[in-house]
Amino acid sequence: MVSDHDPRQSGDGTAASPVGLALFWVYVALYGGFMALVLVRPDLLSLRPFGGVNLAIVSGMGLIAAAFGLAVVYMILRAGR
């Protein structure tokens, strides 16, 4: 027996938006990729491909910046709702 109400399709605000979920998975991929690198190949994070700052700091700062960037994108895409 299946419920007659699917929260994923709800228009009453009780479901997360598809845009939000898409952005969530983008961040999960970034965060997961970074953590996989820390766990499996931490030596790669010592590389300094961007001037004098190593990949560990660049990617860490990048993750923080990405969180804010995606949040702003989400706010713009959901403006007025």
Partner: protein, 584 residues
């Protein structure tokens, strides 16, 4: 080390405490409704709520703990910053808008919105109280630990001072005063961390900072005798004979030639120069015998490039042991999933008017918290090379960094360190008060109350929780508090997140499934923690080898377990036929 009491620090802290109390009484002067007490009438502006998110979330563990960890262990402290911030992505994209639509006052309201089940309310109220208490203890112990070196008062006074102040803030105007205190704290914290970072970059890097000649690199020993007497290198500790402050640069990069200082540097140039420098870090080794406990602090020269990569604190990342790596992965998963499961964070969504405001306030929160966590890297590294670290106390890194600039800045940062405790504890007591009064008394025990009685019970619950928090802060004064914040995240993520996510995304979720997931997630994560190697070694004083779990952080096992239990129990029980989705 013995730290001199700063009159300016006492004055600034007293002014802040009196200021927030005056504000609270002013906000509470009008008559209140239950909606006002528990949710600020849903009328808080989204920007104020966003900064209050930062004030609520950035606890003493974030400010003092992460700065200290970076100062002593390097990059690994920044991994905490990354994990703590990442959790807000779950909050924004998955939780924020639905929970605003589902709930009224408490987290239990949201989980129970489609079932009207006393069982759900009971399970979630208990989980809220457990998480809040686990989060409260380190805040209160932190307050007590800070007050002695900073203000010269005993541990108990710090705990009671914070407990009484916070209880007064909460009972005067409930969520309204709590929000404004958190807004002020969040603003001050980010602003002054920004000021400190500008000063760090302006000062640049210097060899043997704070010293007239080379640093004395001979080991130092602190002994605590059974009668409590403290010796430093065998001589009673005093202001004239104390441990030396530590944390210096031995050599600057070759590109600076014979210069002893780099002068002002930009953010990237600062990090680059530090990576190419040689830094002296200190670590302690403790042994206990009949004469007391002896801790020897020894210097180690390290390359900056080694300190700015993973593995300084999480040793398992470099040793390659599978269990250690799983432990790290589990912690990072708990940080990612825990934020959006913390009841004191979730109830803040009820203080804004609609889902759009919930969304916008989360974005503001992410901005403020993200800026703060970027700054922690510079604060920690600045402290590491300031020459002023206390080798016995990693939590003092940020205040002592400020002291290396001026005593006034030290006083300001010290006072802000206390305000971090006030802001977070007030949010936790607010969440616990709602769980007791609204979930347990009103909904589980079925006590019918009018609006006035609901507020009175909420305030009584806040007073009771304040007393419990003070007692625990004194009782656990010697407890290793760093575990407790991690425990709170693990328990919150294991107990609350599976139920919340499945309620939103799986229509087959049943009442029994939610009750089972919350209960099993909470109990399993608690049991795992109590049986882990870290707890055996650092809490029970037993060998790590006796532990019954393969690694210490439970999230990697107990979060999926919560989902699994919910799915299995839901499939075995009668599905809901329809969901009433209107807010109550």
């Amino acid at each position: 080390m013995i730290h001199q009491t700063s009159f300016v620090a006492v004055a600034i802290f007293a002014a802040f405490v009196l200021g927030v109390l005056a504000l609270s009484f002013w906000l509470g002067r009008k008559g209140q409704s239950a909606s006002g007490y528990y949710a600020a009438h849903g009328q808080i502006h989204w920007f104020v709520n966003g900064i209050a998110f930062a004030g609520d979330y950035l606890s003493a563990a974030s400010f003092l703990g992460i700065c200290g960890m970076i100062a002593f262990s390097g990059y690994d402290g920044f991994l905490y910053s990354i994990g703590f911030l990442a959790g807000w992505i779950v909050a924004l994209f998955v939780i924020a808008e639905p929970i605003k639509a589902l709930g009224t006052f408490t987290f239990a309201d949201a989980l129970d919105s489609r079932f009207n089940s006393r069982g759900i309310k009971l399970a979630v109220a208990i989980s809220t109280l457990v998480v809040s208490v686990f989060y409260l203890i380190p805040q209160m112990v932190g307050a007590g630990s800070l007050i002695k070196p900073l203000l010269g008062l005993p541990h108990e006074v710090g705990v009671i001072l914070v407990g009484v102040t916070v209880t007064l803030i909460v009972v005067t105007a409930g969520m309204v005063s709590t929000t404004w205190v958190q807004f002020i704290k969040g603003s001050l914290l980010v602003f002054f961390c920004g000021v400190l970072t500008v000063l760090i970059l302006g000062r640049g890097l210097a060899v043997n900072a704070g010293r007239s000649g080379d640093e004395n690199l001979s080991p130092q020993m602190k002994t605590v005798k059974p009668d409590g007497t403290v010796l430093v290198d065998g001589v009673p500790q005093s202001k004239d004979h104390d441990l030396r402050p530590v944390g210096t640069i031995r050599r600057l990069p070759e590109r600076f030639g014979d210069a002893q200082s780099t002068g002002p540097l930009g953010p990237l140039a600062y990090l680059s120069a530090l990576e190419d420098s040689t830094i002296v870090t200190w670590s302690g080794k403790k042994h206990v015998d009949a004469d007391g406990s002896h801790t020897t602090y020894s210097p180690v020269e390290k390359r900056g490039s080694d300190l700015l990569k993973p593995g300084g604190y999480f040793k398992g990342l470099t040793t390659g042991k599978l269990a250690d790596r799983l432990d790290f992965a589990s912690l990072m998963l708990a940080l990612f999933c825990g934020t959006a499961s913390l009841p004191h964070i979730l109830i803040r969504y009820y203080t804004v008017k609609d889902a759009a405001a919930a969304r916008k306030s989360t974005v503001v929160g992410i901005a403020a918290i993200g800026v703060f966590y970027v700054l922690t890297l510079f604060l920690g590294l600045g402290a590491m090379t300031s020459g002023g670290l206390d080798p016995t106390d990693t939590n003092m890194a940020a205040p002592l960094l400020a002291k290396s600039f001026s005593d006034t800045l030290f006083a300001v940062i010290s006072a802000i360190a206390f305000t971090t405790v006030l802001g977070t504890v007030s949010g936790l007591i607010m969440a616990g008060s709602g769980a007791v009064a609204h979930d347990l008394v009103e909904n589980v025990f079925g006590v019918q109350m009018n609006d006035h009685e609901k507020i009175r019970v909420g305030k009584l619950a806040a007073v009771g929780l304040g007393i419990v928090a003070m007692a625990l802060g004194i009782l656990f004064r010697n407890f290793n508090v760093s575990f407790l914040v991690g425990w709170a995240f693990n328990i919150a993520a294991s107990a609350n997140l599976p139920a919340l996510v499945m309620l939103l995304f799986w229509p087959r979720t049943t009442r029994q499934g939610i009750i089972a997931a919350v209960t099993v997630g909470m109990m399993a994560s608690l049991a795992w923690i109590l049986l882990s190697a870290d707890t055996f070694e650092k809490v029970y004083g037993l060998p790590r080898e006796m532990a019954l779990t393969p690694f210490s952080q439970p999230g990697l096992v107990t979060i999926p377990l919560g989902f699994l239990v919910l799915i299995v129990v839901s499939l075995l029980t009668t599905p809901p036929t329809a969901f009433p989705t209107s807010r109550r």
